[in-house]
Amino acid sequence: MPEKYFEIRWHGRAGQGAKSASQFLTEAAVEAGKYSTAFPEYGAERSGAPMKAFNRIADVPIRIRSGIENPDVVVIFDDTMLGLPELTAGLSEDKIMLVNTVMSPEKVREKTGFKGKIYTIPATDIALEEIKRGIPNTVMIGALVKLTNVVPLEVVKEKVKKTFEKKFGPEIVEANIRAVERGYQEVKGDA
């Protein structure tokens, strides 16, 4: 078989930042010397409508351009979506689900019926504490890096610094770096 790519599928609602998070991850992966693609699946663009975004990451150039059907990881931004069949579609039991929620992994399992590894992180709460805004992106990326190590944590933090210092002051940069770190440290699973 040709090279396999590491594949991530993001589920969120339009406007919550899943697309930006997937783009950010690809930027960090390219920074780390890997090949990566990120692309959203757009419907009609309505704020709040369920949307998907995709990442592929590999050590070889990435050829496949289609949507990800069998992800290695599913990342869910919004726990009100739990139970939608597309969240677990094509996600096999040896793979990972990561959810932004205050619920326990057991509760998520109950709602989704997913039998593989489930991890949760209250990313919106952490974002509110650290960044003072409920934008879960950087926390979710921290958690994702902990679970998969697709991009080294240091590269992600460096990239956060570079990206945010263009637009914001040092306080926001520091807050986002803390958000990444807390995502990394506080993500928990039921295994």
Partner: protein, 389 residues
């Protein structure tokens, strides 16, 4: 030193435009071309280009403004997609017949109706006879490279023909991946200073542009446009070679993938070729001699190159991302026609795929190869990949 940036295809094209530094850009935003215009407007606002940006009220006006500006002698660009291109249509022909070397990225999107914002090639095909050069890109890197190449090619004196650079809507335009951006100075030197030979603003040497041209000379002017495209065909290898020198990236009429000993060949344009290359690799691992041809140049159509590449193969499957209602699909009919003089004609089959942005999966792209290997191709039947029937 070239810089590798993780950016969208739209941003990559906007960077090419920034480095080309056109005198005038007149554009009207339309999904999925919008981010190109947004990024470029930012460059204008930041003062990093010398461009006069003309925000017009429609695409018909955009192309009209662009024609006026190019006729005046300015290096001129615009960009559009689908219905925007359809609204431009009247002036698209005029730009070509006035021999104005305008460069226009087209972010390929399905023409309405029903209304759809996603990628297919119905827009590119709709203007295939308009007299423009049409270059086709598989990914963001190619969209960037071909925008620069198109400028150099269009402005050559023996060519003086406008050029479109096609990139797939959303898949390429909104997808993020690593793109190598050349140094500004390198691109600046490559495209050089545009010195129009017949600018309207040269009042000491007055000329006429776009007059009434009836049965007396209309025919001759069209014959000259044909010559411009023939000259573009001759100039392309030279421009590609020059670009390879500055970038290290090699372009040609056709991107030949694993074609040396290929028996079963898929012909497909733009981003789907990327997924198809993966499928070719999968088949190769099973010992099947699969190969792929992806045209980088659609107009002037590289007929001779297709004949050389396909003569003697066992089977050819041609994929089109648009229909030609009541006729054979455009790329298929051209490839089939190129094989008229083949010594050993391969079996051939036509497949329409991905209309309105329908996802193109590896499993879907295995089907034409499987049917070819079973000897089940029918040259007179149009087949559909991923259609719900």
């Amino acid at each position: 030193m070239p810089t590798k940036l993780a950016i969208t295809g739209a941003a990559a094209v906007a960077h090419a435009m920034r480095q080309i530094n056109p005198d005038v850009v007149a554009a009207y935003p339309i999904t999925p071309q919008t981010p190109i215009v947004e990024y470029f407007a930012q460059f204008v606002a930041d003062g990093v280009v010398d461009t006069v940006m003309v925000p017009v009220e429609s695409e018909h006006s955009a192309m009209s403004a662009v024609v006026g500006s190019a006729a005046a002698g300015a290096r001129t660009m615009t960009a559009t997609a689908a219905n925007g291109l359809a609204l431009m249509f009247e002036i698209v022909y005029i730009a070509a017949s006035m021999r104005l070397p305008i460069v226009m990225p087209i972010v390929n999107r399905a023409l309405s109706g029903p209304i759809n914002i996603h990628g297919d090639h119905s827009d590119a095909y709709a203007v295939r006879d308009a007299g423009w050069i049409q270059l086709m890109s598989e990914n963001s890197q190619e969209a960037y490279d071909l925008t620069i190449i198109a400028t150099k090619l269009a402005e050559r004196e023996e060519v003086l023909t406008p050029a479109m650079v096609n990139l797939d809507g959303f898949i390429t335009s909104h997808g993020v991946e690593g793109v190598e951006i050349l140094d500004d100075e390198v691109v600046k030197d490559f495209v050089g200073q545009w010195e129009p030979k017949y600018p309207l603003l040269d009042v000491d040497n007055p000329i006429t542009h776009g007059p009434l041209d009836l049965f007396d000379y209309y025919f001759e002017h069209h014959r000259q446009q044909q010559e411009g495209l023939k000259n573009a065909y001759k100039a392309l290898p030279e421009v590609f070679a020059e670009y390879e020198k500055i970038s290290g990236r090699k372009y040609d009429f056709l991107d030949l993938y694993k074609m040396e000993d290929a028996e079963y060949v898929m012909v497909v344009m733009n981003s789907a070729a990327s997924t198809a290359k993966y499928v070719v690799d999968e088949l190769r691992e099973k010992g099947i001699k699969a190969g792929l041809i992806k045209p980088w140049v659609f107009t002037p159509f590289p007929k001779k190159e297709f004949l050389e590449a396909l003569d003697g193969r066992k089977a050819v499957v041609v994929l089109d991302r648009a229909m030609s209602f009541g006729k054979e699909a455009p790329l298929y009919s051209l490839v089939k026609s190129a094989l008229y003089e083949a010594k050993e004609r391969p079996m051939i089959g036509s497949y329409v795929y991905g209309l309105g942005g329908r996802d193109v999966t590896p499993a879907m792209l295995h089907i034409p190869f499987e049917e070819a290997m079973k000897g089940e191709l029918d040259p007179n039947e149009e087949r559909y990949l991923g259609l719900k029937e």
